[in-house]
Amino acid sequence: MNTGDLCNLTKSPPIKSTQELRKISTAYFKDLEASSNDPNQKIAWCSSVGPAELLIALGFKVYYPENHTAMLGTSRLANKYIPAAIAQGYAPEICSYLTSDIGAFLHGETPFTKAYGLKEVPKPDVLVFNTNQCRDIQDWFSWYSKRLNVPIVGINSPSFVNEMKENHIHSVVTQLKDMIPVLEKIIDQSFEKKKLEQTVNLSYQCSEIWQEVLETAKTIPSPITFWDSCFQMLPAVVLRGSQIAVDYYKMLKQELIERIEKTEAAVPNEKFRIYWEGMPIWGKIRSLSEQLYDSQTSVVASTYCSSWVFSDLGSFTNEPFTNMAEAYTKLFINRSESSKEDYLIQKFKSFNIDGVIYHNARTCPNNSNTNYGMPKRLENQLNIPSIVIDADLNDLNVYSEEQTKTKIDAFVEQLAGV
């Protein structure tokens, strides 16, 4: 099951552009596989909101391990592999992306084999992280660095940022530039600022159109749901910085506009509009999407999919480092509680939200905004009801199916005034 197949996990009318997405994703992985076997090509593993543009500009092929782990989640293989990582000494409470990915590596297996025909995940020549999402990514890549004897470089981002300040940008820009000599040596290429500007510009274009795609969901009824967006975001994650991503989102946006013109809803007879806050529960996308579809409830917006909107990549001309520093530090997950609340309030209002589902992911506290009273504060302020689901992005051992189903059913009944 590859990314294109995964898009058919939901009950909503299939998105036609997905056929192209299937081709794009297959080509991307085949190219990585070929590069893995080509001594003249270098592969960089990069965290999903890492400095991909710098790597692309230098000529690296870029692989994103988080994409692999999302697939471990959707294919419900994560729990097969997590124990192997725990046996290595990792706690079960830490990032289940890390534990499932390392576990899969230790097993010598990957869902990429079935999905794309790859024998193994592409081997890295360098590991590049940014802690703007969490510290776990650095621990994750450090394991591979030791295991595969591969250099690791990264950015330690300022965290819990309220207002962006000069010192924040300066710190990240400095770290970005400090990486260059190391990367140049690995790829045996000189850095060219022009190439970085072009790549950043393409990422910016991709981001802007991706935002437009997401904003079609402001229409009532929405032409697309969060469940579809979880897979449609693949180009924004793994192909940003390329024309392919820009072209794909133009196609997708056009299809969604046509749906709007025909009043073709992702959830027919849409009654309720929900905001999903937190990570997807990858292994339960089908069952959750079906349950909500059957209740005529459309999850129209999310923090997760919106996180790949990097408007600040286009802030300044000829300042790609500053733009990257700003865009990647202003990531939602990296912001202060009050910044996050302001963001969510704006989202709830602009998407005409009837209710909010917060996902408290056990192994992803940074992406779980339920721990410091936010749901209750926002509910009291806005009078928009919410529920919290306790689960995880990949570890289904902590998912209580029946309790979650009852919670969601009861929530929809509450919205309906039953």
Binding site: P385, V388, V398, S400, T406, A410, E413, Q414, V418
Partner: protein
């Protein structure tokens, strides 16, 4: 056979199946409580039949609403039916007993605890226990099993407590082990059992803030009214107890059934 028209509410819990039958005036005409077992549809049908008044058969039942853990079962004898969550059914029953009131329903079940907020008779919010079943009926069952005490005796024993003990462990299994260990070291059984009920109340109060009158429902309350006393002590107010706390949700389901189109 009687010509009654009856509406059925069937609350299919993980442990027990509860049935309430009401007539067109919302008066209860029959009820039944039985084990759910593993075949939920069969349990629901058997329990429904057992709830029927004398000289009445299933044809008198015009509509059914199922609720609870096992609510999504197929139709029984092709009687028109629907399923609604126990949260909504609780609120529905509360509207009958406490019309237009602002209150909080606390329903402690075998594996779930629900806190349902009502404002002026309308349901506004709900919360459930998160991540595990600590502080639910299962804890008392586990404890009774470990202590080799009949479940029905737990309330009586707790009532005899003179020096209640606090239990530190959160996990049901570890808490039961803790109780055993401290009894072996000299703590009185009745004081530990009281402590167990006390910890249930604590777990409940961690779920949501409670600023209104409280209605206590569910099987645990029905058989262990000492919990109401503990809530009263902690919250500083008397608890409201409906006539049959264990049948409260099934009654709400029956009320919904009477309104099904």
């Amino acid at each position: 056979m009687s010509d009654s028209i009856l509406y059925a509410g069937i609350d299919i819990g993980s442990s027990y199946t509860k049935v309430v039958l009401i007539d067109q005036n919302n008066d209860i005409q029959g009820s039944n409580i039985d084990f759910s077992g593993i075949k939920l549809h069969s349990a629901a049908k058997t329990s429904l039949k057992a709830a029927l008044p004398k000289n009445t058969n299933l044809t008198a039942v015009k509509k059914i609403v199922t609720t609870g853990f096992g609510r999504k079962i197929p139709a029984i004898n092709q009687i028109p039916f629907s399923n609604i969550t126990e949260i909504s059914c609780s609120a529905k029953a509360a509207q009958l007993f406490y019309p237009n009131k602002t209150l909080t329903i606390i329903d402690i079940g075998g594996q779930d605890t629900k806190i349902i907020s009502m404002r002026n008779g309308k349901r506004t919010n709900f919360k459930m226990n998160r991540k595990c079943a600590a502080g639910t009926g299962t804890f008392i069952e586990e404890l009774a099993l470990k202590l080799r005490i009949n479940l029905g005796e737990m309330n009586t024993l707790a009532s005899k407590s003179t020096n209640p003990e606090k239990i530190s462990s959160y996990c049901t299994v570890f808490a039961a082990s803790e109780v055993l260990s401290r009894i072996r070291k000299g703590a009185k059984i009745e004081d530990m059992i009281y402590g167990a009920f006390y910890s249930i109340v604590n777990r409940v109060l961690e779920i949501d803030t409670i600023n209104t009158d409280v209605v206590l429902t569910g099987g645990l309350i029905a058989y262990n009214p000492i919990i109401a006393d503990i809530f009263k002590e902690v919250l500083g107010k008397s608890m409201l107890l409906p006539p049959s706390p264990q049948l409260f949700v099934a009654l709400g389901a029956a009320l919904y059934a009477s309104q099904l189109k």
